[in-house]
């Protein structure tokens, strides 16, 4: 079996095993897995309202996935998407309600603010790694919680002790009535277009620019890159910053699209961590991220239909997603089994 086929088979097999184990968990818990999966399917594709909300759920997943994937391609593990996303969320919501501008400037400005906030939060991680050799996984985890508390403190400050900011202005919202009309008043918004544009952007940076080539090369082998005359430190900082742009925009999707504000949070949003799953499933390619985000976004939204339609707690889907990540990460063993099977066939 050639490596291309194996690369596609590993995630597919992981998804199948994840769904099978999910079915076993439901069976053992006394639920009907067939009904469960039918409810899940209905929750995703049942009617135009569900489809609209599913796409809305996929939108931030694409951007969070891009953030993780972009960093991975440059040899960095951005586990701090969560914090960068929160910073972007806050910045977009603030620009969204605090300034008064025509729509053609206001909406791009709010998006830009989110991108800048996310980029800054990620820049810190890149700078710490380049300058002080601090491992990005640890520093970004620490910055996730720092972001959470800072965001809560700022929201409290700017709302005089309230728990959420004002609703973003009509001129800054990503909502568009036409989209809501055709999807039976779902909360589908224009963000999906932003997300898909960013997919193109990531592909363009990595595949069509010299800088992208350098970034990838530093990711492959930073000794060789250094020897070839590339600045490893500069590329690490740049890679994290670009990754943070995607993460910040994911926050803008929530601020300007889904929630229309920023509110005080007791815990992480979870989108950043799911972004790791998305990137992993999509093999860190832009197109793969779209598939990964579509799968996990659909599962997450469809799951909300399971308690009502089949009486099964929606957490079953989070269990399945965690298992899929687990199996994709353990790809080594799947590869070994596939190779053995391939050899047997050849022997026959």
């Amino acid at each position: 079996m050639n490596s291309r086929v194996v690369n596609i088979l590993v995630p597919v097999i992981s998804i199948i095993i994840g769904l099978i184990v999910g079915a076993i968990v439901m069976l053992v818990s006394g639920y009907d897995p067939v009904q469960g999966y039918i409810a899940l399917w209905e929750g995703i594709f049942g009617d135009s309202y569900s489809i609209g909300n599913t796409i809305r759920q996929i939108t931030p997943y694409i951007l969070a996935g891009l953030a993780v994937a972009f960093a991975f391609r440059t040899g960095l593990f951005n586990i701090g998407v969560e914090g960068q996303l929160l910073m972007g969320w806050l910045a977009a919501a603030w620009v969204g309600y605090a300034v008064d501008l025509p729509r053609i400037i206001h909406l791009p400005l709010a998006l830009l603010a989110a991108a800048a906030a996310g980029a800054f939060w990620a820049f810190l991680v890149g700078f710490l790694k380049a300058r002080f050799n601090v491992h990005e996984v640890i520093s970004s985890i620490m910055l996730n919680y720092t972001a959470l508390y800072v965001m809560n403190a700022i929201i409290k400050q700017i709302t005089d002790g309230g728990y959420k900011t004002e609703t973003v202005a009509e001129t800054a919202t990503l909502r568009w009535q036409w989209l809501r009309d055709i999807t039976d008043n779902s909360s589908l918004h224009l963000g999906i277009i932003v997300a898909l544009l960013m997919v193109l952007l990531m592909w363009f940076i990595l595949e069509k620019t010299t800088r992208g080539y350098e970034l990838k090369s530093v990711g492959f082998n930073h000794h060789a890159s250094e020897y070839a005359g590339m600045s490893v430190k500069k590329n690490i900082i740049l890679a994290m910053t670009i990754s943070g742009v995607f993460a910040g925009l994911a926050g803008a999707m929530e601020a300007l699209g889904t929630y229309q504000n920023a509110s005080i949070k007791a815990a992480m949003s979870g989108i950043g961590f799911d972004g790791i799953a998305v990137a992993l499933l999509g093999a860190n390619t832009p197109l793969g991220v779209v598939f990964g985000a579509s799968l996990f976004g659909s599962l997450k939204y469809g799951a909300l239909n399971m308690p009502n339609a089949a009486g099964i707690p929606e957490e079953i889907v989070s269990i399945i997603i965690a298992l899929i990540i687990f199996f994709v990460a353990s790809g080594y063993i799947i590869r070994v089994v596939l190779e053995k099977m391939g050899k047997k066939k050849e022997a026959k």
């Binding site: 968990v25 818990s29 593990f77 586990i79 710490l128 002080f132 601090v134 491992h135 996984v137 640890i138 520093s139 985890i141 620490m142 910055l143 996730n144 919680y145 720092t146 508390y149 800072v150 809560n152 403190a153 007791a266 815990a267 992480m268 961590f273 790791i276 799953a277 992993l280 707690p313 957490e315 079953i316 989070s318 269990i319 997603i321 965690a322 298992l323 990540i325 687990f326 990460a329 353990s330 790809g331 080594y332 063993i333």
Partner: protein, 319 residues
């Protein structure tokens, strides 16, 4: 409040908040010193917290107040078993350990909330009837100054945490097993050449981390929230990892760092009534543990260096 009264309030409370961090931080330390990233302790704490609360609720009638110990023991076993997933993936399947840590954290949370809904038909459990209570140590608490400071409001689990930390130091630095464990984390090939079974040592280390993180979760749940829901454990495992790093991967350092983070938490929760502290914005105290950890890693507060082979699967015969 006078200065002494402030001290009598702050110190016992800091030890109280530090206790679960000590268990979990020492757990993460065992894993990392053997060369396996300890990110999964957050999820292992969730498992421990759920198990602890479940056992406490179900068996209070049978065991009375002693149920807290049964609950902690059950959490220890549950954590160790669950950590086998990490061990199999990280050691045998050579998976990316950071990703596995993330997956375990997601899985633990999803699984426990699923079980809560399955067992109790609602999103969170009832409050337990037998929380871990504090007591006064006779005679010792009569000592002037030190008595009210250290022996007046003591939790038995806090004493246990100190014993675990010091015991961990003894095991890691004074016993052959500890030397082997550390050598596997620094240079697995050299250890392998000397006849140490790298995979087995790492399996044991990961299971110890699971057991201790499970205890940490059960202790936390039975002292502070007293029930279990999706938001019972939110980042305590990561603070414990921060304590381990801030303590420079040394058990006694981890103990000290956990106590310091416990102090920060005390000040952020109860600082409003303490003179001087009430003038510091709350957010500064909340982010203090995380910022300090970054500074420690950046080398501003002594250099913190991780075990050399951490995160790298060991493949026999590969140079």
């Amino acid at each position: 409040m006078s200065f002494l009264e402030v001290l009598y309030f702050i110190i016992p409370s800091a030890i109280f908040y530090a206790t679960p961090l000590i268990f979990t931080g020492i757990g993460a330390l065992f894993s990392e010193r053997s060369g396996v990233i300890g990110l999964g302790v957050e999820g292992l704490m969730v498992i421990g917290a759920f198990t602890g609360i479940y056992v406490n609720l179900e068996y209070y009638d049978t065991f009375g107040h002693n149920v807290i110990w049964i609950a902690i023991l059950a959490a220890l076993v549950a954590g160790a078993i669950f950590s086998l997933l990490i061990a199999v993936a990280a050691i045998t399947f050579r998976a990316d350990q950071t990703v596995i840590g993330v997956a375990i954290n997601l899985l633990a949370l999803a699984l426990t909330v699923f079980l809560v809904k399955l067992i109790y038909q609602k999103g969170q459990t009832d409050m337990i009837e037998a929380p871990i209570r504090r007591f006064e140590i006779p005679y010792l608490s009569d000592i002037p100054f030190l008595g009210p400071l250290l022996f007046h409001d003591v939790y038995s689990v806090s004493i246990l945490a100190f014993i675990v930390a010091i015991g961990a130091w003894f095991v890691l630095y004074k016993m052959p097993f500890g030397l082997r464990l550390r050598s596997v984390g620094e240079h697995p090939m050299a250890a392998d050449t000397m006849g140490i079974n790298v995979a087995r040592t790492r399996y044991i280390a990961v299971m110890i981390s699971g057991a201790l993180a499970g205890v940490g979760g059960a202790v936390f749940a039975q002292t502070i929230p007293l029930d279990f829901s999706a938001t019972t454990i939110t980042g305590q495992g990561f603070i414990a990892i921060a304590a381990m790093i801030f303590g420079k991967w040394n058990p006694l350092g981890t103990l000290g760092a956990a106590l310091f983070f416990g102090l920060a938490q005390t000040l952020s929760n109860g600082g409003g009534s303490i003179p001087y502290i009430q003038d510091i914005p709350l957010v500064i105290l909340q982010i203090l543990p995380y910022v300090l950890t970054i500074l420690a890693l950046a080398g501003f507060i002594g250099k913190a260096t991780s075990p050399k082979a951490v995160g790298i699967p060991y493949v026999k015969g590969k140079r």
